[in-house]
């Protein structure tokens, strides 16, 4: 099965239950190579439906302090694009089957070679790709390369997106659309923005693709309220913070279970 189909299947199966997909992020190579492998395995075991597989970049301009610190530390530790793909392969060999959506910035992919990256990612067990600084208008090389390799091309929309931008993303996206919950950078926030349901409705008018919301979600109750309006709940910074704590993978597992339970609430009812 192609990567994009594996991601589509997750949403198709969850749809029958009414639950949302739990989609945690982790920065590969953080806090160490070995620990990041354990953390991804822990996320899969704790109920993740799709894992956002973070490939570090030196200048993550859409990220807040937590993910900046983690990805910088991963780079200092010697993490490379090629090794991130190797880690995906190792996780597949260990039997981790959760779909992986790689998340990086454009320059590391450009340096690797767009077509070469898409093919190497697909053969390493990556199923989709999110590049926050590469909107549809700029991805005329990477998008076809991903299509040919069977990867989902996930694009982001923000509360500021105009109708034209929404239509454009809806035309180019496959797998799902990533809705940025707030105008801002990644990082945990106390409250979900009140305008979120209206934003979701605006996007729905232009697409049947599953929608996943990220940025600012850190608790089970937040995950639950997001799961009531969209098909996916994305959590990054809060889990990365747990990953860097003394309890490491155990702390990640505990928080991930809470977030999975929130996202899957409808399934249990």
């Amino acid at each position: 099965m192609r990567g994009v189909e594996r991601i589509e299947q997750v949403f198709r199966e969850l749809k029958t239950t009414g639950a949302a997909a739990f989609m945690p992020y982790h920065a590969m190579g953080y806090p160490t190579r070995q620990k990041s492998l354990e953390i991804v395995a822990a996320l899969a075991g704790a109920g993740a439906d799709i894992i956002e597989f973070g490939i570090p970049h030196s200048d993550p301009l859409a990220d807040g302090p937590m993910i900046q610190t983690a990805t910088y530390s991963a780079l200092v530790g010697g993490t490379t694009v090629a090794d991130c793909l190797q880690m995906a392969r190792e996780l597949r060999d260990q039997g981790v089957n959760t779909p992986f959506c790689a998340m990086s910035y454009y320059n590391p992919i450009l340096a690797f070679g767009e077509e070469r990256f898409a093919n190497a990612a697909a053969s390493s067990g990556i199923d989709g790709l999110i590049v926050p600084d590469l909107p549809p208008g700029e991805s005329e090389l990477l998008e076809p390369a991903c299509r040919a390799a069977g990867l989902a091309t996930v694009y982001m929309l923000a509360p500021t997106s105009t109708e034209d931008r929404i239509k454009s993303v809806a035309r180019h996206a496959t797998g799902f659309i990533y809705l940025v919950s707030v105008t801002g950078i990644t990082g945990a926030r106390d409250e979900l923005p009140p305008g979120l349901p209206a934003f979701v409705e605006r996007v729905r008018r232009h697409t049947d693709l599953p929608l996943a919301v990220g940025f600012g979600i850190s608790t089970g109750p937040q995950a639950e309220s997001v799961s009531e309006i969209v098909e996916g709940v994305i959590v990054g910074s809060a889990l990365v913070k747990a990953a860097g704590s003394d309890a490491g993978a155990d702390a990640v597992r505990t928080l991930a279970k809470e977030l999975a339970a929130g996202s899957h609430k409808k399934m249990d009812e």
Binding site: H57, D133, E138, A158, S161, T183
Partner: protein, 416 residues
């Protein structure tokens, strides 16, 4: 690479295209949240350009507040000392707030005030010159202003930090990464993403996503437009002819594109950009994007595709320059394109050679240049003697050096 071998004339007015491309360079590589803000900015700018009232207000401020036109100065003693080409200086150091940066800062601040429904400005600064210019424009027009600055740069440009604060701007220290210009830009962009509804990002160089490279170029082109007429007019201090070469330092490249652009059609005029050679190319500690064949490659940094100093894995390289304003890993996309089509050429000047240029201008002309501008002078020390006495070099003296006295005292102070 030269243009003389190509038969098709290059249409310099055709860039950027409607997608913001200069050939393969430029574009809009930003998070989706910012795309509508870029569209809004482009619309406001295109509207302002043809709005006579706006352009007249800007011209009035440039004249009565900035002090434009800035003079053209014949560097007689420097020319005699070098014994070759005659050297003329375009005196952007005499523009209010001490550098060419005010041309763009005032243009964008006025654009925001008159054409966009925003109330707050964020900016980045390296040397502090753009920060001071932005703080100045914000004070003049009554706009809230936040400037992000790397902690390393805050240390080496202390007077400018205090200047910004005096002007009512909040200077926010940036501790991430290399704590220099690149990291200050990341933080300014993060602030902009977060507060985009109310905030305009006043980017200080011909860099970043479209429409910034074209808009900043246009606001800075006043330098070249004035120089073009001054050079041909002896009453304005000119030699009565166009120069044979124009030399300007290139960090992001706004002062260089500003003086180059009105001369693009003058094929007899060589356009030479001088990058920061730092400790030398082999040493690796430099900011010469075009001169380092190993690490200077096509890449994307902070919204635009251009030449970027990076490692083999696409991670952005750490740069070094004695001048904070040139200490940056990427270069304006139009420079990359002009180099490709053979219209402009790029060289570099090391820290050591720069200090020679700095001292020469101080001692022979009574002008203390910014360390950025001293890169252009440092190269002219090599270029002028290779040219004939009846040839002419025009140097863009982009800023004054008061801010750099601490750095220079530390470096050559012991010799005095």
């Amino acid at each position: 690479m030269t243009l003389s071998t190509t038969s098709t004339p290059v249409n310099y007015g055709a860039v950027p295209d409607e997608t913001g491309r200069f050939g393969p360079y430029g574009g809009k590589y930003v998070p989706e949240t910012l795309m509508p803000a870029l569209e809004e900015l482009e619309e406001a700018y295109l509207n302002a350009r043809i709005d006579q009232e706006f352009m007249a207000e800007l011209a009035h401020l440039q004249h009565t507040y900035v002090g434009r036109p800035t003079p053209l100065t014949y560097a007689r003693r420097l020319s005699e000392e070098l014994g070759g080409a005659q050297i003329y200086l375009k005196r952007e150091d005499l523009a209010h707030s001490g550098a060419h940066k005010i041309n763009n800062a005032l243009g964008q601040a006025l654009l925001m005030k008159r054409k966009m429904g925003k109330t707050r400005i964020v900016a980045e600064t390296g040397a502090g010159q753009h920060g001071v210019a932005t703080a100045t424009a914000a004070a003049l027009l009554g706009i809230e202003c936040i400037v992000y600055m790397g902690t390393v740069d805050m240390e080496r440009q202390k007077p400018n930090v205090f200047r910004m604060q005096l002007l009512g701007t909040e200077v926010r220290a940036v501790d991430s990464g290399s704590q220099t210009l690149k990291d200050a830009i990341n933080e300014a962009i993060r602030d902009w993403v977060t507060n985009v509804e109310t905030t305009h990002y006043l980017l200080g160089s011909a860099l970043g996503p479209h429409p910034y490279p074209a808009m900043v170029r246009d606001f800075q082109s006043v330098i070249g437009i004035e120089a073009h007429s001054q050079m041909q007019d002896p009453a304005e201090g000119g030699p009565g002819r166009l120069p044979d070469a124009i030399v300007a330092c290139v960090g992001g490249g706004s002062n260089a594109i500003g003086i180059f652009h009105p001369f693009l059609e003058e094929e007899s005029v060589r356009l030479i950009g001088v990058e920061a050679g730092g400790h030398g190319i082999e040493d690796g500690a430099h900011a010469a994007r075009f001169a380092d064949p190993e690490r200077g490659r096509l890449g994307v940094l902070q919204g635009t595709k251009s030449f970027v100093l990076q490692d083999s894995d696409g991670q952005i390289a750490l740069t070094h320059s004695i001048s904070a304003g040139l200490d940056y890993a990427s270069v304006g996309p139009e420079h990359a394109w002009l180099r490709d089509v053979g219209r402009s050429e790029y060289t570099y000047c090391t820290d050591t050679q720069t200090l020679k240029g700095f001292s020469a201008l101080c001692e022979l002309e009574g002008i203390i240049p910014a360390l950025e501008s001293a890169h252009a002078i440092g190269y002219v020390l090599e270029l002028a003697p290779q040219m004939a006495k009846d040839q002419v070099i025009l140097v863009n003296l982009s800023g004054r050096g008061d801010k750099d006295l601490g750095t220079v005292m530390q470096t050559i102070g012991g010799d005095r």
